[in-house]
Symmetry: C2
Subunit: 129 residues, 2 copies
């Protein structure tokens, strides 16, 4: 199959689609962020995880502040072309700004919440220099 | 940690947040869909994957048409409470309406696209009865 398929950014009013970052080795889902066309193109071209920050309204080259860049090993696209997966090597071992390896560090039970991940770094030391 | 945490549906104008369905055994990401508060509550309460269909604008109890229901084994929530993961057992072996085990059956290379998943069923036989 030689046709190159890209996401359909026209579906969303802001031209954004969700990008799931998944650990390329373990399969652990690390985070979900968003890409616009520019972030998508840069990620595919450079092999580094680049997103669109909805809070800051700017391109977000993950790791610029924390050093925890993502090396993108594989890119997958879904049937509807409105979600992508970046299979990554997460430098520093933590994708989450709270210092956990995954942003999904909490398990929801019917009557409680439990922490299911180890903290890799102290966010105060990384971000509040 | 005894406090029960739920998603913050107020962040989105439509009250929707993305829900990643991941195979509980293999870790393969099967699909991404959306939940509103009602779908979330029903999923957590019943242990069956329930979403909000944006195209049909109605509650979507996955598997009602295809029989391919999802048994939710574990629920995870992210740091910002605006994305969840449902770790599921996918009955019928295929989450995708195109008959693949995962909706993410295409790998995007710099100059080509390749199919990286096996087709489990023929969608014509399942949906066009």
């Amino acid at each position: 199959m030689s046709e190159i398929i890209k996401p359909d950014f026209s579906k969303d009013p802001n031209g954004l689609i969700p990008a799931i970052a998944q650990d390329a080795e373990s399969g652990e889902v690390l985070m979900l962020a968003y890409v616009n066309e520019e972030a998508w193109e840069e990620t595919v071209k450079t092999g580094r995880g680049v997103y669109w920050s909805r809070s800051r309204q700017q391109l977000w080259r993950k790791g610029d502040t924390s050093g925890n860049v993502q090396l993108v090993k594989e890119v997958l696209i879904d049937c509807d072309r409105d979600t992508v997966i970046f299979k990554v090597e997460q430098i520093g071992g933590a994708a989450c700004h709270e210092g956990y390896s995954s942003c999904f560090f909490r398990k929801v039970n019917k009557d409680s919440t439990e922490i299911v991940s180890e903290r890799v770094f102290d966010p105060k030391k990384v971000y509040n220099k």
